[in-house]
């Protein structure tokens, strides 16, 4: 079997071995030349991680990078050619332009800035913003659209493509459903309260539903109190400015989501960035901050806060929470954990990364999350100590100016959370969490076996599959749609330029047959498009060899 440690990035491999060597020096010693064996499953006490932490960030062979740059080079040359033709009137312009009378004014539309959008993104634009016309469950219906002028405009043919397998929606526990029995309480609340709240939290927008929901969220997470907001993005961007200000230091991960970056910038604090999930880099920044203080006056920082996410949605990696918590305790910093993708999706009973690592929720100062992903609703929450939440109730921008969550959505979250906690009298919630875990493991294992390069932790339901070349992005998404599978592909501005990828989101609502259909399609497409770059894969069809292996072992 391929050794999983072989594919880990350099730091983890080194770190793991370091910890094991320290153990050998301290506790476990040789007796008569025989070393006392360590436990087979997991690691013995003395280390921070109770189960093995395996992450893959395999690098593709060098020729892939060369060919990717070649592809981008050709695209750029043709981009210049098309821009030249547009500038000299040889070709019609589809983008915004000023009026004739204003040509001598200061230019409004700087043509070169959108070079990439105009010349590369437009060519494959039909793979994004596809309108769907059903609930985004494990399968959905798509409206068919065609383009006559190479993706500048679209028109709908009127046909609907039915039952496309959904590998792109953040529907981790499958709560995006239209089953009448499941939505009974939501319908009752809809008829009781209507849909609009028409006010902000501080004026007249706090309903008894919000109070009930906040108590439930606090109980679910195991903290003192929680506050809910109408929009997940706004939860980050409007509350970080309320918590930190000028004179504070924000240490944020390299690959943090835009909402965290926006909130950090709006707050006016100093921002320093550490390498993705790299604890040495974070420790160095913490030490420098404490030793040197603020930039010119060298005074101590008023507050040092570390911004991390539970699961990073573009990489599929899980944060190293035990190490961060030990660092934060040592250097007396605060921790803000954004569990947008990990709440409901990891952990033995779906309570997020804090439960996944077996830690105490009191260790994290600010627990933030969204209800969009695992609960099939909309909105976000911030949870923690009662003092913190009371402060946010008065000082958060979202509480003062943004509309609060509407009651049917709050009821959907309440019913989903009660299902997860088992309070509705069934074990359905736990079954969903187990099903998601099984699906994730199966999907990732099969993709590794086939030879694709997959990033991320073995337990995260976000699976990025690397495509690398720009030509393959469009080809991959179009061919998967022809096979009735909807995928999300991501390219340059959201990812580094050479690492474009297709991102799959496994759901508890996917059955084994759906996953097998997707995997077979991926196998075929991987052979046709030559996407199997991994150097560590096992045999491509292991089941063919199963029987012979059994015979030889006897």
């Amino acid at each position: 079997m391929a050794n999983p440690n072989a594919v880990c990035n350099g730091h983890l491999h080194h770190h793991h071995h370091q910890k094991q060597n320290n153990l050998l020096k301290s506790g476990i010693y040789k007796k008569n030349g025989i070393t006392k064996g360590m436990k087979k499953n997991g690691v013995s006490n003395g280390t921070l991680y109770k189960k093995t932490f395996i992450e893959h960030f395999e690098q593709a062979p060098m020729y892939v990078a060369v060919l990717t740059f070649l592809g981008f080079g050709v695209g750029t040359i043709f981009g210049y050619l098309r821009d030249f033709m547009r500038a000299w009137g040889l070709e019609k312009r589809h983008i915004a332009a000023e009026r004739e009378q204003q040509k001598d004014f200061v230019p409004l539309y700087q043509d070169f800035e959108n070079f990439y959008t105009r010349n590369l993104y437009m060519r494959i634009r039909d793979n994004w913003n596809r309108p769907i016309c059903s609930v985004p469950g494990p399968q959905f219906d798509l409206m068919e659209r065609v383009t006559d002028d190479y993706n500048w405009t679209f028109r709908f043919t009127g046909r609907i493509i039915k039952n496309v397998i959904n590998m792109g929606s953040y529907n981790y526990l499958g709560f995006a459903e239209t089953d009448v029995n499941a939505l009974k309480t939501v319908t009752i609340e809809l008829q009781k309260y209507g849909t609009g709240v028409c006010s902000t939290r501080q004026e007249m927008g706090t309903l008894d539903k919000h109070v009930e929901l906040e108590k439930l969220v606090a109980k679910f997470l195991g903290v003192e109190d929680a506050m809910v907001f109408g929009m997940g993005f706004a939860t980050n961007s409007m509350n970080i400015p309320a918590l930190v200000g000028k004179g504070c230091l924000i240490l944020s991960d390299e690959l943090n989501h835009t909402s965290l970056v926006l909130g950090a910038r709006l707050s006016g604090a100093t921002i320093r960035i550490f390498k993705h999930n790299n604890m040495q880099s974070l420790e160095k920044l913490l030490r420098d901050a404490i030793i040197y203080g603020q930039p010119r006056s060298h005074r101590a920082w008023r507050k040092i806060i570390i911004l991390v996410e539970g699961i990073y949605s573009m990489e599929g990696s899980i944060v190293r929470l035990p190490e961060i918590v030990s660092l934060k305790k040592k250097y007396k910093a605060y921790l803000y954990l954004d569990e947008a993708h990990s709440i409901g999706a990891v952990g033995a009973s779906g309570r997020g990364v804090v439960e996944y690592f077996g830690m105490n929720p009191d260790d994290v100062d600010v627990l933030m999350g969204t209800f969009t992903k695992s609960f099939g609703a909309a909105g976000g929450y911030i949870a923690g100590k009662k003092d913190l939440v009371d402060f946010l109730r008065t000082h958060s921008h979202s509480a003062v100016y943004a509309t609060s969550m509407c009651p049917p959505v709050a009821e959907q979250i309440i019913r989903a959370m009660k299902c997860l906690m088992g309070q509705d009298g069934t074990t359905q919630g736990l079954q969903r969490v187990r099903q998601l875990e099984k699906n994730t493991r199966y999907f990732r294992r099969r993709l590794h076996e086939m030879g694709f390069i997959i990033y991320g932790n073995d337990d995260s339901p976000v699976v990025p599959l690397l495509l690398y070349m720009p030509g393959k992005i469009g080809a991959f998404a179009r061919r998967m749609l022809e096979k009735n599978i909807g995928v999300v592909v991501v390219g340059f501005p959201a990812t580094p330029i050479t690492e474009s990828r297709a991102r799959f989101c496994v759901s508890a609502a996917h059955t084994r047959e759906m996953l097998d259909t997707v995997l077979n399609a991926l196998d075929e497409l991987g052979d046709f498009l030559q996407l199997k770059y991994s150097r560590y894969s096992k045999a491509s069809h292991p089941e063919l060899y199963e029987e012979t292996r059994l015979e030889l072992e006897d």
Partner: protein, 82 residues
Amino acid sequence: MDIKNMKNYLYWLFCQFELITCSYLMEPWEKVLFYTFNITMLFMVLYTAYIYVPIHISTAFQFSRILCSKHETTYLVVIWTF
């Protein structure tokens, strides 16, 4: 049947070329331009090879023959013919 497999294989190779050089994304007239340019460059390289490679090889052969021989007063005479 080998012709059919050969044709499929060539078509598949052509698809790989299209994907790698992003000509899959181009409009038809851009493809014509790109392929014309590529085929012209390829043709020029092959033509240059056809003209000059025999001469280079024979010159290199003469040179190595003169080096290996034991006459010390031989001058290096390289014959260029057109």
